[in-house]
């Protein structure tokens, strides 16, 4: 059996198909005539670099945007969706890459937004709540349906997004990077749900930059590159190497700990740092944590969601205040300094949630990149245009942002390229210590390798690097030292010779995966 789409899709096998679909934004050709099949009751995974056009294709299939040319065929019949509601009514729903929840509304209201269940007296809230509880139970997530979404951590918000798509009972479910903020355990649960759905005949499209993970669940693999399809194959015929070869044309390596030099003096030192729960809970999210990082050293912090990694990093950067303990940068106490002062002293944080904490949507790519280093190109009262442009061009090259230039709108970049802008912005401040909270969220393997190479190179020049991840494989790359966090403190510390199983065991995670 071949996976290459036939001119006329076989209705028994293919539920939804795209034929010669192209999409252009002005002169940018996001999709150049692609053919794509969604197989009935199976999982089809779409692989591709950042900006390859994956999200664009999915948005076309789910009616969010309209193709410039080409045809969508549902059950053998050509269809044209004008809105996503129309597509939803025909049984197609989508989980967007960027969260589209209303932060001030509760989980329940978000899930039923626009499709409220009508009762005899307005909305039947009790029924909605019952259904939400059932959904969340299915996803094995302990969230109260009445919590406002803004109080949830990123991973839980993603779960809510998934629950919303599941609540529709669709025949075709498109998932655009549903797991980018989920822990390994949560991913396992999601996969269980997916298997359950496919056994009921639901067809799934899956997109992820976690390639191994996607290989566990998929039945078919499709590779998109620069807006064109480059390969199709059933799962049985392919492996990781096949995907990577077709995606980027070469093999990749996340690198190894940079060596051949001695670490410098201690650059960042945390002494018994304790942080109370910022949401007012009566426990500490970071509990008497001490850690020394030396210049040139790369430290990976591994932990499950909720282990306190984000809070730890935000405290070091100055967003949160420690209740007790000290943050010492190059021998000087900085706990009392503002974020700006800490940046000026060489301490930079790349936050986890790029939409909320990383990007200014109303500004251009260039203005976002230069935002944290304004002082470096300001002389007297005014900013120097040329110096700023140089900084922007240099950073775009350094972190390989795929964009038409610094003047492009930030919203026109693909998700992964937006992430690179956030990383580039902080690297442009020429930090001495850089903290990265899940830096690989949503970026492709090529870019991930690129970011890690950049960090390793920085380390060689004396940069102290601390990054967090919830993917064990990423800890076993450039990190000299691996710290496992569990419930606010360090539960284990390893050097780079550790195995995946040891790390996961120390994090309190079942090693079932």
């Amino acid at each position: 059996m071949t996976d290459i789409p036939a001119a006329n899709p076989d209705v028994g096998e293919v539920v939804l198909a795209a034929r010669n679909v192209a999409k252009s934004y002005g002169q940018i050709h996001a999709l150049k005539g692609v053919n794509f099949d969604i197989h009935r009751g199976q999982v089809t995974t779409l692989f591709g670099e950042n900006g390859a056009g994956k999200s664009t294709l999915m948005k076309i299939l789910s009616g969010v945007i309209r193709p410039t040319s080409g045809e969508i065929i549902l059950d053998g019949q050509p269809v044209a969706f004008n809105t996503s509601t129309e597509a939803r009514d025909r049984g197609i729903s989508i989980i967007h890459q960027e969260l589209s929840l209303a932060p001030n509304l509760s989980v329940r209201d978000n899930i039923f937004m626009g499709r409220e269940i009508k009762g005899p007296m307005g909305v039947d809230f009790a029924e909605e709540e019952r259904q939400v509880r059932k959904l969340l139970e299915e996803l094995e997530e302990d969230i109260d349906p009445l919590t406002p979404v803004e109080e949830l951590r990123l991973g839980q918000q993603q779960i809510v997004e998934i629950a919303r798509a599941l609540s529709v009972d669709s025949r075709i479910l498109i998932m655009d990077e549903p797991t980018s903020a989920l822990s390994a355990t949560e991913v396992e649960v999601l996969f269980k749900v997916i298997r359950d759905l496919t056994s009921k005949g639901v067809s799934i499209v899956y997109i992820s930059h976690h390639l191994e993970e996607a290989l566990q669940i998929t039945n078919h693999a499709v590779v998109l590159r620069d807006g064109a399809m480059t390969a199709y194959a059933p799962r049985s015929e392919i492996d990781l190497e096949w995907i990577v070869r077709n995606m980027v044309g070469e093999n990749y390596d996340l690198g190894s700990p940079p060596g051949g030099y001695d670490f410098g003096p201690v650059a960042l030192s945390l002494r018994e740092v304790t942080v109370a729960d910022p949401k007012g809970g009566d426990y500490n999210v970071v509990d008497k944590l001490s850690l020394d990082v030396r210049a040139g050293e790369v430290v990976c912090i591994y932990g499950l969601m909720g282990a306190g990694r984000t809070e730890l990093m935000e405290t070091v950067a100055g967003r949160l205040r420690a209740t007790t303990g000290e943050v010492v940068l190059e021998g000087k106490e900085v706990s009392h300094l503002s974020i700006a002062q800490r940046i000026a002293r060489g301490l930079a944080l790349v936050p986890e949630d790029r939409q909320r904490d990383g990007l200014v949507q109303t500004m251009t790519v260039g203005q976002n990149l230069s935002l944290a280093s304004i002082a470096s190109f300001t002389k007297g009262l005014f900013t120097q245009k040329k110096a700023e442009q140089d900084l922007i061009d240099r950073t775009i090259k350094e972190v390989t942002v795929k964009t038409s230039g610094g003047a492009a709108a930030i919203g026109s970049l693909s998700g992964g390229n937006q992430q690179k802008v956030v990383i580039g912005k902080m690297l442009a401040t020429r930090p001495k210590v850089i903290l990265l909270d899940e830096p690989s969220r949503g970026i492709d393997i090529g870019a991930k390798a690129e970011v890690f190479r950049l960090l390793a190179e920085g380390a060689k020049r004396g940069l102290a690097v601390v990054y967090s991840t919830s993917e064990v494989g990423e800890c076993l790359s450039i990190a000299h030292r691996i710290i496992v966090m569990h419930k606010g403190h360090i539960s284990a510390e390893f050097d780079s010779t550790v195995t995946k199983e040891q790390i996961m065991a120390a994090s309190g995670e079942s090693v079932a995966a």
Binding site: S55, P351, M363, I374, I396, S404, G411
Partner: protein, 348 residues
């Protein structure tokens, strides 16, 4: 990843093929102004004369100065409802100072010179603005509510100060050395009213500040996404307090210009001017959600409102209809804003 240069040249090509619709949309305030001038010149021969344009411009100056302060606040994602009241408060303060300050302890009456009156009045405006800013930045009171409260308080204080009366004599006396208050509202430099020159100076300085200074960049960033700006080292609280303070100072300047033009200072001056200022900013294409807007747009917005209402007066349309027209223009402007920002802003 290697085709960055290729897509770059492609994007340039698309920027050049500017569509007419887009041009009309982006320059809408400009075209609206042209249309207004054209229509009224047709309806009244007196409209398009240099002297009438200058008179109308001096009316626009008041709204324009307020609107620039409002623009700064709106860029920050806030709103300042207190400017009309602050204008009145500062006006009566200036009026009171012109009448002399009695110091009972020393048994003397001080007559500050006009420059001192101006400085003290602006300082008072700054103080009220800083109060707004502090309430909003430090005590996390929503901008709408904080400035609504201050709007009432400032108006009340202005009424208390004069017991509801108006200062009608602002000329000063030569023997006291405090003459010259009329200069602001009546004099001309090279034929141009001083108030218009004041507006132009403020507009140019603010434009430079927004486009070229680091403060401008901070303001756009914190209005666009305060959390991201904060984490990038932008002093978001300081920015906030500064914009409300500037808005207060500009309200004081507008108060001085208005009382000088009217040669009187009353506690009910400037009622609902805050709404006109907001309208000018919105017509000028700024987004009420923050982060988008320019001085040029706001100036055009102020001139659209001013030239429209003066034009209606000149051709003798009733003031009730003026209100209807102004309202229609505002709604139309907001409609176009949502067309412009609604598309293309979607995330990946």
């Amino acid at each position: 990843m290697s085709d960055t240069s290729l897509t770059r040249s492609a994007a340039k090509g698309s920027a050049q093929s500017f569509s007419l619709g887009r041009l009309l949309l982006e320059g809408r305030a400009f075209f609206a102004l042209i249309a207004i001038i054209a229509v009224f010149s047709y309806l009244s021969p007196n409209y398009l004369t240099v002297s009438n344009l200058l008179i109308m411009a001096s009316h626009v100056a008041i709204y324009g100065i307020l609107a620039i302060g409002m623009l700064l606040v709106i860029l920050n994602g806030g709103i300042d409802l207190s400017v009309g009241s602050v204008l009145a408060l500062c006006g009566v303060l200036a009026g009171a100072l012109m009448q002399g300050v009695e110091l009972p302890v020393f048994g003397v009456i001080l007559f500050p010179p006009v420059w001192a009156v101006v400085v003290l009045t602006c300082a008072a405006g700054a103080l009220v603005g800083a109060l707004n800013g502090a309430l909003i930045a430090w005590f996390k009171v929503p901008a709408f509510v904080a400035t609504l409260g201050v709007m009432y308080v400032a108006r009340g204080v202005a009424l208390l100060q004069t017991n509801g009366l108006t200062y009608n004599n602002l000329h000063g006396r030569p023997e006291l050395g405090n003459t010259g208050f009329d200069w602001l509202g009546f004099n001309r430099l090279a034929g141009v009213p001083i108030s218009v020159l004041v507006l132009a100076t403020i507009a140019i300085l603010t434009g430079l500040m927004l486009s070229r200074s680091s403060f401008g960049r901070w303001l756009y960033a914190s209005g666009g996404n305060e959390r991201a700006a904060d984490l990038s080292g932008v002093p978001v609280k300081r920015v906030k307090i500064t914009v409300y303070t500037l808005s207060g100072i500009l309200a004081a300047v507008a108060g001085l210009v208005l009382s000088s033009q009217l040669t009187s200072a009353g506690p009910t001056a400037g009622t609902t001017y805050e709404l006109t200022a907001i309208a000018a900013v919105v017509i000028g294409g700024a987004a009420l959600t923050g982060g988008r807007g320019t001085v040029r747009g706001t100036m055009l917005g102020a001139f659209v409102i001013g030239f429209l209402s003066d034009g209606l007066v000149i051709i003798g349309v009733s003031s009730y209809w003026q209100t209807v027209f102004t309202g229609a223009v505002i709604v139309l402007a907001v409609l176009m804003n949502s067309i412009q920002y609604g598309k293309g802003g979607r995330k990946s």
